[in-house]
Amino acid sequence: MDNFTPVSALAGGVLIGLASVWLLAANGRIAGVSGILHGLFAQPPGDRRWRAAFIAGLILAGFAWHALAGGFSPRELGLGWVALAGVLVGFGTRIGGGCTSGHGVCGLGRFSLRSLVAVMVFMATGMAATFVMRHVL
């Protein structure tokens, strides 16, 4: 566990929580990133502006961080795997109605049983898939 970073993890988590509270308080919206993204492509046009604004902020945060602290080096993961992972994440979050933020940060924060089940399921299958990728294949 030499890679455990408790202080930055907790600090970053609090910032994510504050951002979610901010979006609910100011916009009356749940900060579920998959739902915000999918809605951008699926909703009637009137609903798109806040979604685009949130995602623009999310993307800009990456470029700001990159300029100040740098990004991370790419891995050796075949692009076929990357594409499969992307499709599964997009498909699964759309069918399951949420991801780590919508079901995790926000759903658990309102003590939703539905979200708790989702979190337990995707944690379990995530661990299983990582096990197969890292230790079996």
Binding site: A25, F41, A42, I55, W65, A85, G90, V105
Partner: protein, 130 residues
């Protein structure tokens, strides 16, 4: 509009501060059989500690309609999402904020994720919502 932009910006900064924008760190959490990194638990714990306190009064003042049923699409969708997450190490938030890497990997992942969502809409046209 501006408030949603600010919320997204802060959310993204939180992802970078926590280390979760890096898929390697996420996979080190999911890899319980390897050199396990429990950091993600503290990220989730820190975030949920904040939402658990602040969401209740906000939702009491302005109630929202949430789905409550634990049904097959929820479980199947979460299971598939988890598999994709475990393969790539990206969930939607980190994937979007990691576009700044401008790596081939992320430029393949994000369009694939959007395509997966569009395909799901064809299969199951019900609206999104956690």
């Amino acid at each position: 509009m501006i408030s949603a932009f600010g919320a997204g910006l802060l959310f993204g900064i939180g992802l970078w501060v926590s280390g979760m924008a890096n898929p390697r760190k996420v996979l080190d959490f999911l890899d319980i059989a390897g050199n396990w990194d429990p950091s993600l638990l503290l990220v989730m714990g820190g975030a949920v500690a904040v939402t658990a306190v602040a969401f209740r009064p906000l939702l009491k003042r302005k109630p929202m309609d949430f789905k409550t049923r634990v049904d097959a699409p929820l479980v199947a969708g979460a299971a598939l999402f988890g598999i994709g997450w475990g393969i790539g190490g990206y969930c939607p938030g980190p994937a979007l904020t990691a576009i700044s890497n401008l790596s081939v990997e992320i430029l393949v992942f994000v369009p694939a994720m959007i395509a997966g969502g569009l395909f799901a809409k064809i299969v199951s046209p019900a609206g999104p919502g956690a």
